[in-house]
C-alpha cells in the first residue's frame, strides 16, 4: 500500500509511464532499484481503485508508452494518506518523506512525533520487564536476555535519532522558506 501510494504521489506530481516512474522513485530513495515492470502492478491496482487512468485506454502493447494520469479520487486518497498518521513503526513514513511536497511538511513533522512516541511506548513496555540484576558469575541466560533487550532498545534508539533528524530538517526547511516569504 505504501509503495502504491508513493507511485501515486509521483503520478500526481507529473503524469508518466511506468519506466519513468521507476526511475523517479529510484532517485528518491538511496539504494532502491525498482524495475519498470515492478511499478506496473502498483499502477494496475491504482487503476482498479479508480485513482489513476490511462491517457490512451486503447494503448496496450508495443512501443506506445502508456502514460498514467491521476483522478480526483486519486488526489483525494493521496492527500488523506499523507495528512493522516499511518500505523506507527510500519515504514509508511519512509515513503511519505520520499514523495513529500513542501506543503505536506507540517503534517509529516507531526507524524514523526507520533512515530517517536510509539518508539518510547515500546521502550517503556520493555522497561516493565527489565529482568533481574546481571550477575556475571551466575548462569548466562539472564545476562543474554538483558543483552538482547538492550539490542532491541538500541534499534529503537537508532529509529528515534533518525526521526529527530528528519523532524529537525523539515522544521529548518519551513523556517528558511518562511524567512524568504
Amino acid at each position: 500500500m505504501s509503495f502504491q501510494n508513493a507511485v501515486l504521489g509521483l503520478v500526481i506530481e507529473r503524469p508518466a509511464y511506468g519506466y519513468e516512474l521507476a526511475q523517479r522513485i529510484n532517485g528518491r530513495v538511496a539504494g532502491l532499484h525498482v524495475s519498470g515492470t515492478a511499478v506496473y502492478p502498483a499502477l494496475v491496482a491504482l487503476e482498479n481503485k479508480g485513482w489513476v487512468r490511462r491517457r490512451d485506454p486503447t494503448a496496450r502493447t508495443g512501443r506506445g508508452r502508456i502514460v498514467f494520469d491521476p483522478t480526483d479520487e486519486g488526489r483525494e486518497g493521496f492527500n488523506s494518506w499523507m495528512d493522516h498518521p499511518s500505523p506507527p513503526l510500519r515504514g509508511d513514513l519512509r515513503w511519505k518523506i520520499a514523495v513529500a511536497t513542501f506543503e505536506k511538511l507540517p503534517a509529516l513533522i507531526e507524524q514523526t512525533r507520533e512515530e517517536e512516541q510509539a518508539c518510547l511506548d515500546r521502550i517503556e513496555l520493555l522497561t516493565t520487564d527489565a529482568g533481574g540484576p546481571i550477575d556475571p558469575i551466575a548462569e548466562w541466560a539472564p545476562t543474554g536476555r538483558l543483552l538482547l533487550q538492550r539490542t532491541d532498545v538500541k534499534e529503537l534508539q537508532m529509529k528515534i535519532e533518525a526521526l529527530q533528524e528528519v523532524r529537525a530538517t523539515m522544521k529548518q526547511w519551513l523556517r528558511q522558506r518562511s524567512r524568504r516569504g
Binding site: L120, R150, V153, Q157, A168
Partner: protein, 244 residues
C-alpha cells in the same frame, strides 16, 4: 488526585551561538511524582543538561514555570548564584578535590555545616549502606573503579535524603554490567524511599530501568503515551527515611 512533586509548565530557553539564536527548550512541560524514576533521552547538545539545571532551579528559564513540592523555583533560579534547593540532590561526576579524603568524608561533605561531624558521618554511612557500598567508606577516590565511583556519587547525591534526585548521564564511562548496577540502584532508591529520580542519558538502553521515558530534541520534549500511574509502578512505597 495527588500533587506532582515537580512540575514544569511551558518552559522555554534559548541561547546564542554566534549570531544565531538557538531555541534549546520550546515550551517543555512535564510532571514528576514522588517515587517515580523518569529518564530523558537526548543526543549530544540536545539541551538535556540545560533542562535538568532548570528543573533543579539552578538555571533560569526565559519563560514558563517550575514548581517543586509546592514551591516556585522559577524566581529562585533568577537570583544571582542560585544554589540547589535543599530537598533536591544532584549527582556529581567529579571526585573530591582533596585526594586524601576518604569516601565517607566525601559522601558526608554536603552535610557538613548544617550537621555535626558525627551526625554527617552517620548519615553518610547510611547512604553508602543503602546502595551496598559501605565497604568503600575508607577507600580513596584514586583506588576506586569507575563503577565504584558511580556508587559513591549516588550515595553523595542521596545523603541529604532529597525528595528529588537529578542525575546527568550517571553511567558515562561504565560497561554494561556496571551500568546495570548503577541504574538498578537508582530504581531501588525511587521505589524504596519514595524519592523521585530524574535522569538524562545519551543512550536509550540506559532507560530500561525507568518507569517513564521521554526524549528531547530540537527543543521538543516527547513523552510516551503509556505513562503509568505511580500505583502501577511502585509495589510497596515506604515513607522517606523509614528504612534507614
Amino acid at each position: 488526585m495527588t500533587r506532582p512533586l515537580l512540575s514544569l509548565d511551558r518552559v522555554s530557553k534559548s541561547c546564542w551561538r554566534g549570531r544565531h539564536e538557538i531555541l534549546v527548550l520550546d515550551e517543555v512541560s512535564f510532571e514528576l511524582n514522588a517515587g517515580e524514576f523518569t529518564s530523558i533521552f537526548g543526543q549530544r547538545a540536545s539541551g538535556k543538561t540545560t533542562l535538568l539545571r532548570i528543573a533543579a532551579g539552578i538555571e533560569p528559564c526565559d519563560s514558563g514555570s517550575i514548581v517543586f513540592d509546592g514551591e516556585d523555583l522559577t524566581r529562585r533560579a533568577r537570583r544571582r548564584g542560585a544554589s540547589l534547593h535543599p530537598r533536591i540532590g544532584w549527582m556529581r561526576r567529579e571526585g573530591p578535590f582533596l585526594p586524601s579524603m576518604d569516601m565517607l568524608e566525601y559522601v558526608a561533605l554536603p552535610l557538613l555545616g548544617p550537621l555535626s561531624y558525627d551526625d554527617a558521618h552517620r548519615l553518610a554511612t547510611r547512604a553508602l549502606r543503602r546502595i551496598g557500598a559501605d565497604e568503600l567508606a575508607r577507600a580513596r577516590w584514586s583506588e576506586l573503579s569507575d563503577a565504584e565511583r558511580a556508587l559513591v556519587m549516588i550515595a553523595q547525591a542521596i545523603v541529604r535524603e532529597p525528595a528529588l534526585l537529578i542525575a546527568d548521564d550517571p553511567t558515562m564511562g561504565l560497561g554494561t554490567i556496571e551500568r546495570e548496577e548503577a541504574l538498578r540502584h537508582l530504581r531501588e532508591i525511587a521505589e524504596q524511599t519514595g524519592m523521585a529520580v530524574l535522569m538524562a542519558v545519551p543512550e536509550v538502553p540506559d532507560m530500561l530501568r525507568s518507569h517513564t521515558v521521554m526524549s528531547l530534541s530540537d527543543g521538543e520534549l516527547i513523552r510516551s503515551t503509556r505513562r503509568r500511574s505511580r500505583a502501577d509502578v511502585i509495589e510497596f512505597p515506604r515513607e522517606r527515611g523509614e528504612s534507614a
